[in-house]
């Protein structure tokens, strides 16, 4: 079965190519069928591969499929080859399955759109790239997928291209992630220069052998890769693009900007965990970035009024958790959270898509309200997804994954109480903004009657994801619940287990605090946004409240800062120098030459006596030369 691995990215890619070439003339039904089918097949193949992986794990925990030589120059050799281990398998499975459901969902959601086949083409291309990203056996192939998903994200954010605002959002996303990619590319050069290869497995081995613990190279490489990860995963300070990315169609937001692509940074760091393990500095940086992001995004989410933006900030915040997990060496916890997050965040987005379609593309939650009765499926999806997101104890997937991360933050040798504390604050915030969203949208008075009902094509994926959001957490039960770390064990061949240090609190005790935080948040949300809504409004109206509101609303003003620092200077320079100042050198030369002409021209007076005079002057000069020499 392993040898079918190459089909997993190829089929979506072929689907994308066919859709691009023949799409414009295709019936929407055919296009949808083709799009869903190609992903479906590839999901099935992944499943088969996973089946075999579980039963007959490949020797050494990884299987490499070499397709062809990509480039080979001097001592630089790279292949187009795929590498499958537990880590990539998890990602592959999640990507193919979630995207399959989202494809199915989209076939109804996008119905009637002009660019229907184009949408599926892009989505397929995205899936193909994402799979290449997770399967690439070397960093460059990973980079190919990495950039590929970036491009697809750009294409999909700007999918409704007629509105320039969407285009701007798309450009912002692409450019911001590419800022990170620049760092990552430099990291690649560094790794190759130091270790002589870009093959991930050899690289990891070489790093372990050649670099001592705390090596400066490991730190540099780790930080550069972290830069890339920050860009793609929308972490501080490059997080600003993600909320704007919500300009794309909602399924896109669900798939790319929530479930899969944005977690590529997590995958990258997990993939190259050896480097981070070698460098405490780099690892700490990851953790700090994660912690800072989760708090910052939490505050930003709290004051948004656009339903998708709230979810976007929550995504940023949740990826912050994953980074925190990675940063404290809780590798498997981070991956675990990735998986559950993929489920519940996709669910939330799909549900919000249902709301938005019903509300005639109205996204402002304050113009909604009381939708509980009108849209029960969406409501329950939100409730389940929201609880999972916020970590309702015991019954939701999010609770287990987030708990694992937080326990890692507290207990691992590189972790600390401070990091843990930030995590807990994050839980409070999450619960606060999640339930704020739910209460405002679905409870309270009803402002607008929703119109159309959604069909089963949208309903089924939601239901499936609802299920997964609940049961997805049971693959890893913490010690206080019987200690069944199936997930961690499964990943053992690819990622080391979280090292246990001594913690100030017992796992159960710590978990208790987290649960407390959750309920605190829930309660506060209930109080401020359902029970005494006017209180929250008056708080927002006060001077300080308004300032804070504005500050958070604009994501801590970072867009403004970047605009002043980078965008405007570059734009100004380009515009000011549109005519190319360097050209002045040459036009200047031309002007000098021309003036030479016009002045010399005066010597041609047409008068014969003047000509004779010149003759004589010439003679005088030359005789003078003779006389002087």
């Amino acid at each position: 079965m392993f040898h079918l691995l190459w089909l997993v990215p190829t089929i979506p890619f072929a689907g994308a190519a066919l859709l691009m070439i023949f799409g414009p003339r295709m019936a929407h039904r055919t296009a949808a069928f083709m799009g869903c089918c190609s992903i479906g097949i590839s999901a099935v193949i992944s499943m088969l591969i996973a089946w075999q992986f579980l039963h007959q794990p490949p020797a050494g925990g990884g299987y490499t499929q070499h397709l062809w030589t990509w480039m080979s120059v001097a001592n630089f050799h790279l292949g187009i080859s795929f590498y499958l281990d537990a880590l990539s398998l998890i990602f592959m499975l999640v990507v193919t399955f979630v995207s399959f459901f989202i494809h199915v969902y989209s076939s109804e959601y996008m119905r009637g759109d002009e660019g229907f086949s184009r949408f599926f083409a892009y989505m397929n291309l995205f899936v193909a790239s994402m799979i290449v990203l997770v399967l690439g056996s070397n960093l460059l192939l990973l980079y190919l997928g990495w950039e590929g998903v970036g491009a697809c994200s750009y294409l999909l954010i700007g999918f409704w291209y007629t509105d320039p605002k969407n285009g701007l959002a798309a450009q912002k996303a692409f450019i911001t992630t590419r800022v990170g990619d620049t760092a990552m590319a430099v990291g690649l050069y560094l790794l190759f220069q130091q270790l002589g290869t870009l093959n991930i497995q050899s690289l990891m081995q070489a790093a372990q052998h050649q670099w001592p613990q705390g090596s400066i190279y490991a730190t540099a490489a780790g930080l550069l890769l972290l830069g890339g990860a920050c860009g793609k995963s929308a972490q501080l300070p490059l997080q600003t693009w993600l909320p704007d990315a919500m300009a794309g169609p909602t399924p896109t937001s669900a798939l790319i900007h929530a479930a899969t692509m944005v977690t590529a940074g997590v995958y990258l760091i997990a993939r190259t965990h050896v480097l981070f393990a070698l460098s405490p500095t780099a690892q700490l940086a990851v953790a700090v970035v994660g912690a800072a992001t989760l708090i910052a995004a939490g505050f930003a989410a709290l004051v948004q009024d656009d339903i998708k933006r709230i979810l976007a900030y929550s995504t940023v915040s949740q990826i912050g958790y994953m980074f925190l997990g990675l940063g404290v060496g809780a590798w498997t916890a981070a991956i675990f959270h990735f998986m559950t997050h993929a489920f519940f965040k996709a669910l939330l987005f799909l549900a919000s898509g249902m709301v938005i379609t019903s509300m005639h593309h109205e996204q402002n939650i304050f113009k909604m309200g009381g939708l509980r009765k009108e849209l029960p499926l969406a409501y329950w999806a939100f409730v389940i997804g929201g609880c999972s997101l916020a970590g309702l104890p015991l019954v939701t997937a999010g609770f287990y994954s987030k708990g694992l991360i937080l326990w890692g933050a507290l207990s691992s040798p590189v972790g600390s109480a401070t990091l843990w504390f930030f995590g807990v604050i994050g839980v409070l915030m999450t619960s606060l903004y999640t339930f704020r969203l739910i209460f405002i949208t679905f409870h309270g008075p009803c402002h607008h009657k929703p119109s159309q009902k959604t069909g089963w094509l949208m309903g089924v994926p939601v239901i499936v994801l609802m299920t997964l959001s609940v049961v997805g957490g049971f693959v890893e039960l913490p010690s206080y619940l019987g200690n069944h770390p199936w997930f961690t064990n499964f990943l053992q061949s690819a990622l080391p287990a979280t090292a246990e240090g001594h913690a100030a609190l017992s796992e159960l005790g710590a978990e208790g605090i987290v649960v407390l935080a959750f309920f605190l948040g829930l309660g506060a949300a209930w109080f401020f946004f359902l029970q005494r809504r006017e209180l929250s409004e008056s708080m927002a109206e006060s001077g300080l409240g308004r300032a804070l509101h504005r500050w958070w609303y604009t994501d801590w003003g970072m867009d403004w800062l970047y605009d002043r620092l980078f965008v405007r200077p570059v734009g100004w320079f380009s515009r000011a120098n549109k005519k190319d100042a360097v050209d002045l050198i040459y036009t200047g030369t031309a002007a000098v030459t021309r003036s030479g002409w016009s002045s010399l021209r005066l010597t041609e007076t047409g008068r014969v006596r003047w000509y004779a005079t010149a003759l004589v002057v010439g003679t005088v000069i030359f005789v003078l030369i003779v006389a002087l020499l």
Binding site: R601, E604, G606, R607, V608, R609, A612, V616
Partner: protein
């Protein structure tokens, strides 16, 4: 004398005078040859003078013919009258 011819050439606007000035210059050059020949006691200088004489005659012939044409054309002997071309 050569220099004087030169001055004449540069100063006069009347083509006739210019031709005369040229004659003076040629004559001066001829004088130089004759004296140089005399210095070396050779006939060559004088032979050269003879040819200069011939040339002077030829130049004057063509020059005066041209002068007549110009005069018919421009009704003037002013050389600057004939300076249509410039620049």
């Amino acid at each position: 004398m050569f220099a004087l011819g030169l001055i004449g050439l540069l100063v006069r606007r009347n083509l006739l005078f210019i031709l005369m000035a040229i004659e003076v210059m040629l004559n001066a050059a001829g004088l130089a040859f004759v004296s140089a020949g005399a210095r070396w006691g050779q006939a060559d200088g004088q032979v050269m003078f003879l040819f200069i004489l011939t040339v002077a005659a030829a130049e004057v012939a063509v020059g005066l013919a041209l002068l007549l044409r110009l005069y018919h054309r421009f009704h003037s002997l002013d050389v600057d009258a004939a300076s249509e071309m410039r620049g």
